[in-house]
């Protein structure tokens, strides 16, 4: 079986949904953050597939940028989460809720 564009897109959609489910359901900030990266990965899969099937390199260029930006974001994000963990001794979202309505 030769994979078609649809296969890639379905995979991408699945990964995106798994990521979203993780964001909404897991309680630890770190895991939530990993799930967010998963959502970005879904876009990367789709972009690479579109590039391949559309015969255009633009998508792959964007893939590189997404990877780089995600790395920068992760660096900053983990720094914040680690600082928060050191301060509060927890990374559970429901215990980090001092700012509310």
């Amino acid at each position: 079986m030769i994979p078609t564009l649809d296969h890639y897109l379905v995979l991408s959609a699945l990964v995106f949904c798994i990521g979203l489910a993780g964001v909404v359901m897991r309680r630890s900030l770190i895991v939530i953050y990993m799930s967010l990266e998963l959502m970005l990965t879904a876009s990367i899969i789709a972009l690479a597939a579109f590039s391949r099937f559309n015969q255009s390199l633009d998508g792959q260029v964007l893939v590189f940028f997404i990877i780089t930006v995600a790395a920068a974001e992760v660096a900053v994000g983990l720094a914040i989460i680690v600082a928060l963990f050191r301060q509060r001794k927890t990374s559970h979202t429901d215990e980090i809720a001092w700012l509310k309505f």
């Binding site: 590189f64 790395a71 992760v74 660096a75 720094a79 680690v82």
Partner: protein, 123 residues
């Protein structure tokens, strides 16, 4: 009239089956066999686990790893650049200059982290 709602009906049915199925499966499958303490351990037959399952590392490992990734990831721009370099440089030196500028900016970042003592292991 009813046909318009048929799709929605199927959707509702599918959602119910999936949700109910997952619950039912866990109840049914979870009850297979008797439960005991041994069954709940990570390795049912083998050595008893010792200590915490997720030992804590020094944050320095994390810091170094993070900094490594930050600089490492820039390689993705170097690969495509290297592939087309030989052809493009014949036309103009812009391709060289732009990468040089990029590396220069990266170098500033590197000097910055060095000066801030981020790479100083003993600190």
């Amino acid at each position: 009239m009813m046909q318009e709602y048929f799709a929605a009906l199927v959707q509702v049915a599918a959602a119910a089956v999936v949700a109910g199925g997952a619950l039912a499966a866990s109840v049914i499958l979870g009850k297979i066999g008797a439960r005991s303490k041994a069954k709940d351990t990570p390795y049912e037959c083998g050595l008893n686990p010792e200590g915490n399952s997720n030992p804590r590392f020094s944050v320095k490992f994390y810091l170094i790893a993070m900094l490594f990734i930050l600089f490492d990831i820039e390689i993705v721009f170097l690969y495509p650049w290297a592939v087309v370099y030989a052809d493009m440089v014949k036309e103009s030196w812009v391709i060289f200059g732009s990468m040089a500028l990029f590396q220069l900016i990266l170098a500033v970042g590197f000097v910055y982290e060095f000066k801030k003592g981020a790479l100083d292991w003993s600190r």
